[in-house]
Symmetry: C3
Subunit: 360 residues, 3 copies
């Protein structure tokens, strides 16, 4: 006989003891990215990059269609890993080695797989750190995007033994000679009139700082709609009732959406940064909420030539996101608190990433 | 000579005396459903069903494209009937026999027609009940969706005689042998990795209850945007000024959107419910407003084999929607009030519907 | 040697002294308009025009696809001019001669160019008026949309001499024999059942006033999302922190979006106004903000036959937009204030435009 009122526990996710070294997780559900997603991304971020907005611009350079915004593809691929990796996370500790390997075109379908590449139980025995290497493939089984991420996850059954500690070695940044450069595209054909700025790779210099002038106020509908579009179902972004009893008191904005907003705001000053090649590291130093106004500045960390390319260079950039404080009004990301350097309370993002830019 | 300042009364709609038995109404305006609508539906509900999100998944099963979410098609078809049927409604009394007849694909255009199949003037003479049978066709004149609905409508000219009373007989539910099952599709090819759950039709049992864990806070922008997308122009969803003077005091959420939210929230626990075959009945027991957080539970009412199909079964489900109360915190939909059983004030939806699910 | 911490000033825009007569500005960035944009436009405005929503309706009349809503195309084309023309505007003074020259289809890419056709420095020497003629082309270099606009712009370097004053002559309205009428389309094939109204061109008369019944409350997410979709980056629509210190105290709704809302609300009563041929003039008499409820009425200014067309006529209309006051509750747009006739404080829009409508 069957139980009459069985209660099941769906959406349970994985706890620390459920992960083991070398484990491969196939994440549900595959997702076809369409023109509709691209339009929504524009409407939610204000993005104006011509490679993602204008088919003829992409065609002229050798692409078969306009491309899906790199961050839109990333957020969708990333969102798919949440139910398996981070639904029981104590904290999202970091990510690195985010490589944009191939263009994504409207109509492509992304499927994402993660491999456990590191484990370390914490000394309290109550949780541990899981490192995963995730790869997203298109419908032709070509990798289009990969990254490493580490999260602290609750251990449910604390009586189980700790796994052997493995901590992967991670590069501080994605080296220029390992970036994926579109070999089919010729950026000598790039016309600056499509972006409105004649400032090209050659015109940027190390240590230069750009205060992007625009600010964007984000309402709760905006960030929750974006995060649903990304099919990232982490509950703290959506459930205001549940969040009322937390330290935040309200729904938390998905940190990835903050990256998108800063990237869109940085268009004025980085108009010709036509695509993202890598994200080297990122810190979400303070939370963002509905009603916050986001600003951003950029510092040029490095200007890299690319092997064999006279038409294209790379810039390693530091993008700093702020809430409720224009970029020109803050000089340093850090401030002293009880003798320690901590992030200024208005700094919400500190991202180290690499863009591609045409050169003259 | 023409009148110099004629005032016309557009959007008047039909009153009780305008309906007659057997009358056929062709509803404006036809609507092409596109990838854009599908993306917005994901962004507004958080839906993750792979049949609607991933073209290769649909292809592998024998569909010619990913399908439009059943409820998105329903809301658009339904919205078209509002100006003719319910703009003067006192109350939307019920719906039944909602049958999803054929898949809708992005690019299909829906046109909807209603036939008056019942009329009953109320004893007060001031209003009456109209029953309509509505069918939505695609551009190839194939029926894709049908339903019966009854509404109480104001009578404007109360001096007109009452029509003969006709009350249609309605089945309590859509019988399993009358469900439209996609005969071209082979669900033996279905892979559970695309949904992330190995729980198939065989694993559900009658009386089982599933408390879906996630909650979704809905802001006014979310539900009004959804209802505009559905082109449902019932004014009580949109006009906050008009609603200020009603019992509600504010804009009312479209009940159909609550169904969509509950369906999306029920993904965790019903991952392999790949499509809706029928809606048998539904009660919108309490109103929802912007700011409410929606939760849901599901009870399995019946597990049906389908004639001639070893790859697919049907589940008749009861989906209960709640506002501002997680599903695990409420045992019963009803509570006693003055000696009567009434819906608990946090229960907003009680839906009886039938899904298709692959079996092993 | 390079400067170590150069600060650049991106997004500076043009000041009065940067404009000269005959100057041509190529606006960044080209934009492909897709099905996704069209769906968002429906979701943001509630538009129901069948030419834009239903492919078979457009096909039957001779169009190669459903068309992009005229105002969506206009807003996108217009938005592109903001960084070059009006980012330093003291005031947007007016626009005229807006001509919709050719249909825009999903997939078309718009590029916009402006020519300076007039300049007049104000006597204070601190600013001046710039007149531009803007044209938007599709990917086949066919003009699809053009307009004249004049803005008052700050002069940064007031020591520079004033330019020669040139004030272009502008017609009061676009004459009927200069309207672009689709010569490939046959509106004898138009079926009124697709719009739900049998009221055609012949049935309207001069001076007729239509109080459109519906109201639409607009939240901050709605109008900011729309304005981002249009890629109009004027900061006063987005930056609540910056706006807190202005006379408005909050984000200002883009006036073009108010036109779109009124156009959508006017569907009930103008169902067969299948497209916009021209905008003759427009006044945004009062600002709109998130939370406002928009209503509208229409007055018929003129009923024009079109040369050589028995299937189609034109109506010159005055569309009046109101906030927080239903159309039936206001008789006149103007009211007396200190002996002067000024716009009633609830009147937000006074638009003179021309639509095409099938005739019998």
């Amino acid at each position: 006989m069957h139980k009459s009122t069985a209660n099941t526990e769906p959406g349970r996710g994985n706890f620390f003891e459920d992960f083991h070294f070398g484990q491969v997780l196939h994440h549900a559900t595959p997702r076809t990215i369409t023109d509709g997603d691209c339009s929504l991304y524009i409407a939610l971020t204000g993005s104006r990059q011509p490679m993602h907005c204008a088919q003829p611009v992409a065609h002229a350079l050798g692409y078969r269609d306009r491309t899906v915004d790199d961050l839109l593809a990333f957020h969708i691929a990333f969102g798919k890993t949440v139910p398996d990796i981070s639904v029981n996370a104590v904290a999202n500790l970091g990510y690195a080695n985010v490589k944009f390997v191939r263009p994504v075109y409207p109509g492509d379908t992304l499927s994402t797989t993660s491999t456990v590449i590191g484990l370390k139980q914490n000394s309290n025995g109550a949780n541990g750190v899981v490192y995963v290497h995730s790869v997203s493939h298109n419908q032709n089984r070509q990798p289009i995007l990969e990254w490493v991420r580490w999260v602290m996850v609750h251990k449910q059954n604390t009586s189980l033994p700790a796994p052997a500690t493995v901590i992967p070695e991670l590069d501080a940044y994605v080296a220029p000679d390992t970036l994926s450069i579109p070999d089919f595209a010729d950026f000598h054909r790039f016309e600056t009139k499509v972006t409105g700025s004649q400032k090209l790779w050659n015109d940027y210099q190390r240590s230069e700082r750009i205060n992007h002038p625009a600010g964007m106020t984000v309402d709760d509908s905006d960030h929750t709609m974006a995060t649903r579009l990304y099919q990232n179902n982490a509950r703290l972004h959506f459930d205001a009732l549940m969040m009322k009893d937390t330290q935040f008191g309200r729904r938390l904005m998905y940190g990835g959406h903050v990256i998108s907003l800063c990237r869109a705001l940085s268009y004025d000053g980085l108009e010709n940064a036509i695509g993202i090649a890598a994200i080297n590291a990122g810190t979400h130093s303070n939370p963002c909420f509905g009603g916050d106004t986001i600003y951003t500045w950029t510092e040029v960390l490095d200007c890299w030539e690319l092997p064999g390319r006279q038409d294209l260079g790379a810039l390693r950039l530091r993008m700093v996101g702020l809430k409720n404080l224009p970029a020109r009004e803050l000089q340093n990301t850090h401030t002293e608190q009880n003798g320690r350097q901590v992030y200024h309370p208005n700094v919400v993002l500190d991202l180290d990433y690499t863009v591609l830019m045409p050169r003259r």
